[in-house]
Symmetry: C2
Subunit: 225 residues, 2 copies
Amino acid sequence: MRGKLFGIGIGPGDPELLTVKAIRLIRETQVIALPDSSGKESVALGITRERLAGKTVVFLAMPMTKDAETLRISHDAAFEQVRAFLEAGSDVAFLTLGDPSIYSTFSPLQQRALAFGYEVETVAGVTSFCAAAARANIALSEREEMLTILPAYRETAFPAENVVLMKVGRHYETVFGMLRDKNRLGCAALIERCGMDGENVRIGLNGEEAPSSYFSTIIVKEKPL
Amino acid sequence: MRGKLFGIGIGPGDPELLTVKAIRLIRETQVIALPDSSGKESVALGITRERLAGKTVVFLAMPMTKDAETLRISHDAAFEQVRAFLEAGSDVAFLTLGDPSIYSTFSPLQQRALAFGYEVETVAGVTSFCAAAARANIALSEREEMLTILPAYRETAFPAENVVLMKVGRHYETVFGMLRDKNRLGCAALIERCGMDGENVRIGLNGEEAPSSYFSTIIVKEKPL
């Protein structure tokens, strides 16, 4: 009897934004897997630490790189770690920040587990951009509006409507210059470390707010805020 | 001492997708407001009914129409209902399906409350499209990909990348025709009544799956699923 893989969104950082389902499944699952990549591991661990006592906690190396071959090799290796538990009949709960379908380290594990015929249950979580919008008291989309979500480093035709830029961090200067050129600095809000210690919300950008954290989101509306 | 307005996302339908924070704030707040519009009220009520015993529950008429003037008048009236409690010193918790920043009935109340200087705390929730992706075991966006979210009835240049079509319901035939013309029926998944009774997930569309519910989401990927 092979184990089942759970991919559990644990929300953006505030432990109160865990869902009832996430808490139940963490409680019921003996083997907990966490991504281990440049500081993100510690956030996922911080949100759930008090719930992990007595459990088998497995850290999966998931380097953050754009190199496709490096990614493939590390994802294969991470899945093999998980697979050993599944083959031994243990369920595994992989915990991922935010939601497991949005730029998540769960996706490569999910795809591999499905391809090999394992049972996979994915549990949605609160995304960082929804939490950021809530903290800034901004609507992301209303009525017939469109909402576009993309990583800050993505070079693309910038939509005229609602945009969320994820993972701003060190790309802030580029984004700032682009928004200045498009005369949309006043339409933008920066939310840094949403729901975590050191949270910072800025409505309207002026160039002085370069974020210190990878965990930064910029919301850009069509009109000034 | 004026009361505070809470806008609380209660998730897409599964009561287990409530957050710890939503549950705590519902417990702590005496006056609960719910949108009352063509069946949606009953879903929000169904998710939280057991938590509302002994509370003052206020239903706010929020008709679903595209007519701007009808919307403005009904939103003004809904806000006046809420405002009477705030002025009397009572906090009010407005419960909204999914997340309060994404196509939410909370946005018009949030904007009015902020404009009149009331304290507003918005609490993010799990969106229906994240829950739909989880149930279908599909990634909405990975790596540098873009994700576009829009209502099904919106006529627009259809993005080549990841798209979420919300509120498909009676617009299904139009959407189906458009996806067929773009040769993307195999790239699409339909998730109906996600997390509710009668949930139905279809991977790949063939025209036979016209949804019976307003609560339907279509996810369209770049490549076949």
